[in-house]
């Protein structure tokens, strides 16, 4: 009470003083950081008023104030300073001092916002500034790659708008979707595959929570780490700042590091195959036309490069405008943006997104504040077929022969025309023209995402606050797939009485979180800082799906279902999942020297068996910043923090929403309904639990010029949730269960250093690496598990995601036959392999999971000129290269094109380092022959930029102006055959959500792309 009184008294006095001596003057100056670099964007406000400004790019500012008032200089990551205005004050040049170890060290752990200095667990924060440098990806998850040690990111594929598989500290689960981290955007959970709906430009901060001490706050869903995304907000007491950024560029497929056969080569290859007894080659032009004949010449004259025909150089484009600012009791951020990436397939469009956002915080009453963050985005995407068949353009570009023309040709080599005068597409040896089908079989999706989070905070006392929050994520998804009347597919399998077939399907996904938070915080003058948070939260998730298919369209131009003659399928579905949580979290530090935190959380989820719904998760962590001790007097060391944490976290993904219940579904069969057993219930289903221990050291030295973080962790996941496949003879497929245990251990290092740090010249380099190891400790009854993957097997005591294959032993130099290893270690022809229970397959010790993964960067900046390059790398993973197998068939598939290396087959005794002779094509069997090392280093991003100095901008209305050129994926170092960045093998065989082993195999999914872009960022 006394303090309050004295406060009021001070204000009163100040008021009196003001009246007496009111005298307005203009103050100007420069704000710099601790090493004399100008600090742009520093908030400068006149204390107790609405007026304020920001420093410009060169750190300069100018503000009007009255003598006796106080200027407050604040900047994120620096200690706020106040300067009182005296009659003699005209210039205030100020050097701000960093108040935390790192400049961008604000970490957002979801329910709280804290400084890195007092953090006791492994977290990594990525700031807006850094995101800005990497923007040209349309999805945030791709952007995380190489940014944080221990975060494994595998790009799903190169499809515009497609995300990535993110695994924080290894695979915590045996089911695909269940190994993904939890993504939280302003408090609302969002699915990994919906991340593309968030504009990079709107993001203020991405914080990756790695260990249990923080993920335990998300108890139920934090087992695989949490990625907390916070969107921007305005600065109070500042005038509106307008920011405009735009970029434009071209993208194309990354170039193959191998060559396909041209028309002449392929025909020669066919003739060679036929001569070796490959009967099927007999119908190929390499056999049916004689070299030098007019027929042969005709084919050569009309030869194609199918990559040129099917692909294009696409366009990427992005435009964003934002306004932000604030008054004393309110701040706002508004943005609108448009992004486009046409992709590289000719004849269809790629991805396009429109997004807008308004974030508003205001103090409604002295004791009541409200914040509302609302974002909307609409994404459109054209969908090519992603499967291993004739409808996939990325398969066709390799399999179509160069001598096959795009159109059916008459004898003069001119395209034949159909009744409408349009050229007739050549079905090729595949019987299907993908060129034509891209036009006649369009498929596209439209995704509308609304993210709204509203928080109301009641301040009871300075120490006690209560917050009620609602966070809503609503996805409205629609997919349309049309097989046009008269199109390629309709002419193959259509019904002439009902021409054309159209499917509309879609989903409404609602995720709603209601949370009640009671917060107590204490910052005593004696140095005790305590924060306690009580939580009660309810999460409701509902999906609604619909699907309508009908046939019989009078015109290809009509696409809505109302035009159809007959509906063949009409259905809706709905499912729900709910979660109820109670939690108590506490953080404590004493003078930022001794740190501790603890949490406990109980979650109940509706997808577990009766009586098994609730799981309790807890964590504890401690830290000690030795550098803050008086006895520690090493000047070179700014921070030396040792921290340790332990905790448990749950997971409920990986099983059906109603997995504990015995269920039937209903289908149709002539005569009426058909009851179809749909789920064998397991009432014992319960939470999967992950236990994580973490030890870390943070060391900042030489005035924070060298920053090091090292962590060691051990994660044990028990009661893994999994659909356990049952014997084929059971006829049920699988049953949801809790099975076994896996362990991930890892060592993470990140290192960053300012090699040069001068006012006009800085050079920073940094990098991180995560070294991971994993092991399956236990499986039920010790039996092997075959997941939904190509050749992956889970076995007790073995590493995860190992390829389980027959081992190829090369070619017998005497006969040219392929040889394989028998179980006994000997080498055999395929038909002579010894009888073996495993069919001589072995766990190869080669896994789809890299042993080490990370990234590094270099960043120069000289007087506004910047050059930054970011690299990513992976090593130790193995990819089953089915793409190569499809174009190196040893005579098994003579019809399709092959790569030039296919000529290198065994010809005579003594030939080594060759492919098997096509004579033995029946002995070419699935083996590890195409299993290749996936190691690579890729220059993900390189940017050359120029920031115009404010001297130049002074006479313009602009505050800042930056122009840049940027390249993505321009350089790759690998020995892999093809592009080593592999995620999804074949999207319609195993889709994103169902991928257990990202990067296990190549199978003609959308290839990776490279791009060149130019951009501009302006603010005023």
């Amino acid at each position: 009470m006394t303090t309050k009184f004295s406060g009021i008294l001070t204000l009163l006095l100040a008021f009196i003083v003001q009246i007496s001596f009111a005298q307005e003057k203009t103050i100007s100056g420069t704000v710099t950081d601790d090493i004399d670099l100008p600090l742009p964007g520093v908030n400068i406000i006149v204390k107790g008023t609405n007026s304020g400004t920001q420093s410009d790019f060169d750190g300069n500012y100018s503000i009007s104030a009255e003598v006796g008032q106080t200027l407050v200089f604040s900047y994120l990551g620096f200690t706020t300073q106040e300067v009182a205005i005296t009659p003699s004050t005209n210039t205030v040049n100020l050097q701000l001092q960093p108040d935390a170890a790192e400049l961008d060290a604000v970490v957002v752990t979801g329910y709280t916002r804290r400084n890195q200095t007092v953090q006791t667990s492994a977290v990594v924060a990525i700031s807006a500034e850094e995101i800005n440098q990497l923007t040209p990806t349309t999805s945030i998850d791709n952007l995380l790659q190489g940014k944080a040690a221990g975060v494994q990111v595998t790009a799903a594929n190169g499809k515009p708008g497609q995300g990535a598989f993110v695994r924080i500290r290894g695979m915590g689960s045996l089911v695909a979707g269940a190994s993904s981290p939890l993504y939280i955007v302003d408090g609302a959970p969002i699915r990994e595959q919906d991340l593309a709906s968030i504009a990079n430009e709107d993001i203020e901060n991405i914080t990756i929570l790695k260990d249990a001490a923080v993920t335990a706050q998300y108890g139920s869903r934090g087992a695989n780490g949490v990625v907390v995304i916070t969107t921007k907000s305005g600065n109070r007491n500042t005038e509106a700042k307008v920011r405009f950024s735009s970029r434009y560029g071209v993208i194309s497929k990354t170039k193959d590091n191998f060559s396909m056969m041209d028309a002449e080569q392929k025909m020669q290859y066919e003739a060679e195959l036929f001569a070796l007894g490959v009967v099927a080659a007999g119908s190929r032009p390499g056999v049916t036309t004689a070299p030098g004949s007019p027929e042969r010449q005709f084919l050569l004259d009309n030869a194609n490069d199918w990559q040129d025909v099917l692909l294009k150089d696409g366009i990427v484009q992005s435009n964003n405008v934002s306004f932000s600012g604030g008054a004393e009791k309110v701040d706002y951020f508004f943005s609108v943006g448009h992004d486009r990436n046409t992709g590289i397939i000719d004849n269809i469009n790629g991805f396009e997104r429109l997004n807008t956002r308004l974030n508003l915080n205001f103090d409604a009453k002295e004791w009541l504040s409200v914040s509302a963050n609302v974002g909307y985005s609409r994404s459109l995407s054209d969908e090519p077929r992603d499967r291993n068949n004739v409808q996939n353009p990325f398969r066709a570009m390799y399999i179509y022969n160069a001598y096959e023309p795009e159109f059916q040709l008459d004898e003069n080599g001119n395209p034949e025309l159909d009744a409408n005068g349009d050229p007739i597409y050549n079905p090729t040896h595949q019987g299907f023209s993908i060129r034509g089908a891209l036009l006649s079989e369009p498929e596209n999706t439209i995704t509308n995402v609304t993210l709204a989070s509203v928080n109301t905070t009641v301040k009871f006392t300075d120490n006690f606050t209560y917050t009620f929050g609602t966070a809503i994520n609503h996805v409205n998804y629609r997919r349309e797939s049309y097989s046009k009347p008269g199109g390629i597919l309709q002419n193959l399998i259509g019904d002439p009485d009902f021409p054309g077939l159209k499917t509309d399907n879609g989903a409404q996904r609602l995720d709603m979180t209601l949370s009640n938070r009671l917060n107590y915080s204490l910052n005593s003058e004696s140095g005790h800082n305590l924060n306690v948070l009580g939580l009660f939260e309810y999460n409701f998730n509902e999906n609604n799906f619909y699907r309508v298919t009908s046939r019989g369209f009078p015109s290809a131009l009509l696409t809505t279902q109302i035009n159809a003659a007959e509906v063949t399928i009409g259905s809706t579905n709905r499912n729900r999942l709910t979660l109820l949580s109670y939690g108590l979290f506490a953080d404590y530090n004493f003078r930022e020297k001794y740190l501790a935190s603890a949490s406990i959380r109980t979650d109940g989820s509706s997808n577990f068996g009766k009586g098994k719904e609730f799981g309790t998760f807890y964590s504890a962590s401690v830290g000690w910043n030795i550098a803050k001790e008086d006895f520690f007097a090493v000047d070179a060391v700014n921070d030396f923090k040792i921290r340790a944490s332990y905790g448990t976290v749950g997971n409920r993904n990986g099983i059906g929403r109603y997995a504990p219940q015995d269920l039937v579904a209903f289908g149709a069969y002539p005569g009426g309904s058909a009851t179809i057993p749909a789920n064998v219930g397991n009432p014992e289903l319960q939470w999967e639990t992950t236990e994580t221990s973490n030890i870390g050291v943070e060391l900042n030295m030489f005035n924070n010029r060298l920053r090091t973080v090292v962590d060691y962790f051990k994660r044990n996941t028990t009661d893994l949730l999994f659909t356990i496949p049952t014997a084929d003879e059971s006829g049920v497929g699988g049953i949801g269960g809790n099975l076994g245990e896996i362990e991930n251990t890892g060592f993470e290092v990140s290192l960053q250093g300012d090699i040069i740090r001068k006012p006009s010249f800085t050079w920073t380099m940094g990098g991180n690496a995560g070294f991971m190891d994993n092991k399956i400790i236990e499986l039920p009854d010790g039996e092997d598990i075959i997941p939904n993957a190509f050749n992956i097997l889970y076995r007790e005591g073995e590493a995860l995601n190992q390829h389980y294959l027959l081992q190829y032993a090369g070619v017998d130099p005497n006969t040219g036959a392929p040889l394989y290893f028998g179980e006994d270690g000997g080498t055999y022809r395929f038909d002579d392999l010894p009888e073996s229970e495993s069919d001589n397959r072995v766990l190869t010790g080669k896994s789809s999971i890299p042993e080490v993964e990370g990234g590094f960067f270099t960043n120069f900046s000289y007087k506004g000129i910047g050059l930054r390059a970011d690299f990513i790398f992976k090593a130790g993973n193995y990819i089953n290269n089915f793409n190569r197998a499809a174009i190196e068939t040893d005579g098994v598939s003579p019809n399709g094109n092959h790569h030039v290396g296919a000529f290198n087959y065994w010809q005579q005794p003594g030939d080594t380092n060759v492919l098997p002779s096509p004579i033995y094509r029946t002995e070419v069997q699935a083996s590890d022959r195409f299993l290749e090392k996936g190691d690579f280093i890729r220059m993900r991003n390189i940017v050359l930029s120029y920031n115009f100095p404010s001297a130049l901008l002074e006479r313009s209305p602009l505050n800042s102006l930056r122009v840049y050129v940027q390249g993505q994926n321009l350089l790759t170092f690998t020995e892999f055959f093809g592009d080593p960045e592999v995620g999804i093998s074949s999207g319609e065989t195993i889709d994103f959500v169902n991928t257990v082993a990202p990067g296990e195999a190549t199978l003609f999914s959308y290839p990776q792309t490279k791009s060149f872009q130019v951009g501009i960022d302006v603010s005023f």
Partner: protein, 477 residues
């Protein structure tokens, strides 16, 4: 003080207004139904038996799986078809006898056991049901279970008459309980057949003489029974069962129309295939496209084509002259699944059992019993309805060959040829004809499979072996 009241009031209001309770954790599915509620009333069991039948339409069973299904396998592994180079080369590994544990018809294996599980599940619940039509549904379920096991053992096991050791060799697991955790061992071929006969005998005695289309009936079950006895070499039983089939065979003038669904003469068990119900383009297993743009996967082998003489209505009924004009190719396309009149979408009813089989089973059994006169009479019953004129009058092995020939001609592309060659102990011998209409073009790659080859018994998939430690692979693989 007033402020504190506001604050508390405000807080209480929102907490009270939005907080939910534990009841929210009890969620019941919207799209599915608790099993215990699904098998109670008479109509539940009608729905249930239809559910069991519906598994027959899965891709690996009577669907058109590119990896091969019951719809295609017995002709693809035989001399009835030739691989068309123009096509997508599906099922080639079967046609060329290159099936291995890594590449085999696992889809069929799983789908057949799905039929069995659904039948067993229904049989489990029917024990507590005493309502209308119980006996008929129980009979249908047991007949389905028998049929699926019969198909399985024919593909993976030996056929009793195939060789002397057949009965004692391993067949397949005969599963009679709906146990999701079952990991059954294979039992002997003899034991499998014993179970099949057991189930079919029960079914024949209890099933309705007539059931709706898409469901088995007395004649259908008796035909299956006669086939089972025929495969076992129990000739008299085969004749007796065939004699219980009363449905007339299709007359000559109906033969063409059966395959485009304009009549159902002689059909004992078929599954109607309408766009709004099943909507299965099963014909893609043989070809896509129309008669001028045909992309065939397989065509009638030129050898088979020549066996149909011009007097034989089946030449028109089973084989379709078609072309791919763009490639200047003409084919003897397979007409049986091509489409309804005016259609080429491969959407036709799935025909599974026909009265003609009872006749041919009977003729063959009569011959084996030495009743050659009766056998000839029985055979002529069919020939009279197929040819405008024929020589006939065969005796001795000529009669046997005539019966076998007629079986091949009648049931070409109808899931029998591989099993017939197998049980007769005959090799697969393909003539060296190409894939085009006049026998030119490219022949299939591997032409022959010796009668003694282990490849007459298909391998179990590695995946199946991995999941069931009690499953033993067939010899040779």
């Amino acid at each position: 003080m007033k402020k504190i009241v506001y604050k508390i009031l405000f807080t209480v209001l929102i907490i009270g207004g939005f907080t939910s309770c534990d009841k929210e954790l009890e969620q019941i599915p919207y799209d599915q139904f608790a099993s215990e509620n699904a098998f109670v009333t008479a109509s539940d069991f009608e729905n249930g038996i239809r559910g069991a039948y519906s598994a027959l339409t899965r891709a690996g069973y009577y669907g058109s799986s590119d990896a091969g299904s019951m719809l295609s396998l017995p002709d693809v592994i035989s001399d009835n078809v030739t691989l068309a180079q123009r096509g997508r080369r599906t099922k080639r590994y079967l046609h060329e006898f290159e099936y291995f544990p890594t590449a085999t018809v696992r889809g069929f294996y799983g789908d057949a056991y799905t039929v069995i599980y659904r039948a067993n599940n229904l049989l489990f619940y029917i024990e507590d049901f005493e309502g209308e039509n119980r006996a008929n549904i129980e009979a249908e379920a047991r007949a389905l279970r028998a049929m699926a096991h019969f198909d399985l053992v024919s593909v993976y096991g030996k056929i009793p008459t195939q060789s002397g050791d057949a009965n004692g060799s391993l067949g397949v697991a005969y599963v009679t309980e709906p146990d999701p955790l079952v990991e059954p061992a294979r039992v002997s071929v003899g034991e499998v057949y014993e179970n099949i006969i057991n189930d079919l005998t029960f079914a024949a005695a209890n099933i309705n003489a007539n059931n709706d289309p898409g469901r088995l009936n007395k004649d259908a079950v008796n035909t299956l029974l006669s086939r089972a006895y025929l495969y076992m070499g129990q000739w008299q039983n085969a004749i007796n069962a065939a004699n219980n089939v009363s449905t007339a065979i299709a007359p000559r003038e109906s033969v063409v129309g059966i395959w485009d669904d304009t009549n159902q003469d002689g059909l004992l068990f078929y599954i109607p295939n309408e766009a709004t119900v099943l909507n299965l383009n099963i014909g893609v297993t043989w070809s896509q496209g129309n008669v001028t743009t045909l992309i065939p996967e397989y065509v009638a082998s030129y050898e088979l084509f020549q066996l149909y003489n011009d007097e034989d209505i089946r030449k028109e009924g089973y084989i379709l002259p078609a072309a791919n004009n763009a490639s200047n190719m003409e084919f003897n396309a397979i007409r049986k699944l091509f489409g309804r009149p005016g259609q080429f979408n491969g959407q036709v009813d799935i025909k599974i059992l026909r009265a003609e089989e009872a006749i041919l089973n009977k003729a063959e059994a009569q011959y084996e019993l030495g009743q050659t006169g009766q056998a000839l009479t029985t055979l002529n019953q069919l020939r009279d309805n197929r040819y405008t004129s024929y020589t006939g009058g065969e005796t001795g092995t000529a009669l046997r060959d005539a019966i076998r020939l007629e079986r091949r001609l009648e049931f070409a592309f109808e899931y029998k040829r591989f099993f017939d060659l197998k049980r007769w102990g005959l090799p697969i011998q393909r003539e060296n004809f190409g894939d085009l209409a006049d026998g030119t073009g490219t022949p299939s790659e591997n032409l022959n499979l010796p009668a003694s080859s282990f490849r007459f018994q298909l391998p179990f998939a590695n995946g199946s072996l991995d999941l069931n430690p009690n499953l033993v692979q067939n010899p040779g693989y």
